[in-house]
């Protein structure tokens, strides 16, 4: 088992700010999209890689490590920024995000150190997590599988196939985190295909539900410190988040699912983050 040793010194809030700044520079440089969903999950990623996940950047393929599957693969840039922050690969790689021949593809690439699965087609990640958690359960090994889902991908039937399976098999080593930023590709989740009552749905599938503000560091730390939330059950953390969080003109704006900030917008965004508490 990997000791929970090399926890970064910086506090999660500072790490999250650093992830957001890297992410903004990356999408600006690459003229890439999906910045909004990266900003909404940045705080959770900062906590996961800031000491929750039992991972060792010097041994990214250790068979006994915890896994993290970013099932919402379109926010790969936020994961790459987090992994670089944690020391899985040099930060300079981020400067080449989206460039020809860069391994940092627009959706996650499992050949990048620290990336456990290539995703991008929605609705795949929770099944992968089920398989990993099932292997660990049957082998009585302690490694856990964390799966970060978008709210939009809860439309996928395959997600619920996996949810049904995990509840039945009592996969307590499986932790799903929903980045519930309330916006999907075409607009508001509640208008396109409403998920509510979402907590009840997961409970009905025999999951232990933890609802948090996905930008409140105490709440995130609290939820991730007590896992599984209930012995013998998979845990889902419904993290209420704001798409574009941390940049005033991106917050809650569908447009930033697609747009890339220009030079002036990047400067303004970075300034706002530097000035934030």
């Amino acid at each position: 088992m990997i000791p929970n040793s090399s926890v970064p010194a910086s506090n999660p809030s500072a790490v999250a700010r650093s992830i957001r700044k890297s992410l903004l520079r990356m999408v600006h440089h690459a003229n890439a999209s999906h910045v909004g969903g990266g900003l909404s999950i940045a705080d959770v990623l900062a906590h996961l890689y800031g000491g929750v996940l039992r991972v060792d950047p010097s041994r990214p393929n250790d068979p006994e490590r915890d896994r993290l599957i970013l099932s919402k693969g379109h926010t790969a840039a936020a994961l790459y920024a987090t992994l670089a922050e944690r020391g899985f690969f040099p930060s300079e790689w981020l400067d080449h995000y989206g460039e020809e021949h860069s391994p940092l593809t627009g959706h996650t690439n499992h050949l990048v150190p620290g990336v456990d699965a290539s995703t991008g087609a929605l609705g795949h990640g929770l099944s992968l997590g089920c398989g990993i958690a099932l292997a660990m359960q049957r082998d009585r090994r302690p490694a856990r599988a964390f799966v970060v889902l978008s709210d939009g991908e809860l439309d996928e039937g395959s997600t619920w196939e996996a949810a049904l399976f995990a509840g039945h098999h009592q996969l307590e080593g499986l932790i799903a985190i929903v980045d519930y930023n309330q916006i999907q590709s075409f607009g508001n989740v509640c208008e396109i295909l409403d998920l509510e009552p979402l907590a009840d749905k997961w409970r009905a599938f025999r999951w232990q539900v933890v609802e948090i503000d996905g930008h409140d560091h105490d709440q995130i730390a609290g939820a991730l410190a007590r896992l599984p939330a209930k012995a013998g059950s998979p845990t889902v953390i419904l993290a209420r988040t704001v798409k574009g969080k941390g940049v005033s003109f991106m917050e809650g704006e569908l447009l930033w699912h697609y747009r890339s900030p220009d030079g002036a917008q990047l400067e303004r965004a970075l300034r706002e983050l530097d000035d934030s508490p």
Binding site: S127, G131, I132, L134, D139, A145, A162, F165, H169
Partner: protein, 306 residues
């Protein structure tokens, strides 16, 4: 072939603790020998094939070699993207097993006709594709698949197919064609359970003075194109046989082979099915006969063509 498959799987699982079996709630009275012997490595995931392949991939990420089991299209097409992205792209030892190939379940209706799987599966990167011709090949295929490091697809018929290799076979090496019957005239290349029909046809042709060779082609990917090119120089006619869509199937493969279609000597006749959408009860036998895959039609084609 189902019985040979599960017996061989139990055999390899006995010595290889990585081997798991998942089913999409199919295989009643077939899979029990594995389930009873290795309950810790067996899961009926329910009627959820997408999840089954995702789970298989996750298990494989954690070091397992995982067989998934269902009927034709459910094992393959229903979860095609999971096979592509999760198993193939990550190059994981996930072995997709489909029973009911071709018109095995002809009378059950169109949903149960496994016709397009070979062209579709062989288009996927890294995925080995094997269609054994008899129970002996099926058992060997299981061993090969465990040895094969990446993802694979195993296409099986049902139970009770005749044994063609009566003297047994030592191995089923990747990509290799298997010579079943020598012959100097035309050659039949048969894949999957068309093999016994090919042998029957060749025996009848011998009585008519047409000395026909028969090759079994269990490996569709990797495929021994060089061997086919050699056969195309040696034989006057090559007749492919498959119970499934011939475009992109074995017929397509041979036609794609340099020297396969336009060889110095051989003509190519591709026996198989074309966009078959049946709307009535059709047994496997009748379905084959109506589409040029019965023994008489094959004999006739080869007698005339050579």
């Amino acid at each position: 072939m189902r019985t040979a498959f599960v017996e061989a799987l139990v055999e390899v699982a006995r010595t290889d603790p990585r081997v798991w079996l998942l089913t999409g709630d199919l295989g009643f009275s077939v899979l029990e020998p594995f389930a009873e012997r290795f309950p810790e490595r067996y899961v009926n995931v329910g009627v959820a094939e997408q999840n089954m392949v995702g789970i298989a991939s996750g298990l494989a990420m954690a070091g397992k070699v995982v067989f998934t089991y269902s009927i034709a299209n459910f094992a393959t097409l229903r979860c095609l993207e999971q096979i592509r992205n999760d198993a193939c792209y990550h190059d994981l030892p996930v072995k997709v097993v489909a029973v009911g190939a071709g018109l095995t379940y002809g009378s059950l209706g169109y949903t149960h006709h496994g016709l397009e799987d070979i062209p579709i599966m062989r288009a996927l990167p890294r995925l080995a594709v094997i269609a054994p011709g008899d129970p002996v090949e099926a058992a060997l295929a299981v061993r090969e698949l465990v040895r094969w490091p990446g993802p694979a697809y195993l296409r099986l018929g049902k139970a009770g197919e005749p044994v063609v290799h009566r003297d047994g076979l030592a191995e089923l090496p990747a990509s290799k064609l298997i010579l079943v019957r020598e012959g100097r005239g035309p050659a039949i290349l048969a894949t999957g359970s068309m093999l016994p029909t090919a042998v029957d046809a060749a025996n009848q042709l011998a009585g008519l003075g047409v000395d026909t060779a028969v090759y079994s082609v269990p490996w569709l990917k990797p495929f021994d194109a060089a061997a086919v090119a050699t056969l195309a120089r040696k034989h006057s006619l090559i007749h492919t046989l498959e119970e499934g869509q011939r475009s992109g199937g074995l017929g397509g493969l041979v036609a794609e082979t340099p020297g396969g279609a336009s060889a110095p000597r051989a003509r190519l006749v591709r026996g198989g099915l074309d966009d078959l959408c049946l709307h009535e009860v059709v047994s496997q036998k009748a379905g084959r006969e109506a589409n040029g895959l019965g023994v008489e039609a094959i004999v006739e084609a080869l007698r005339k063509g050579s």
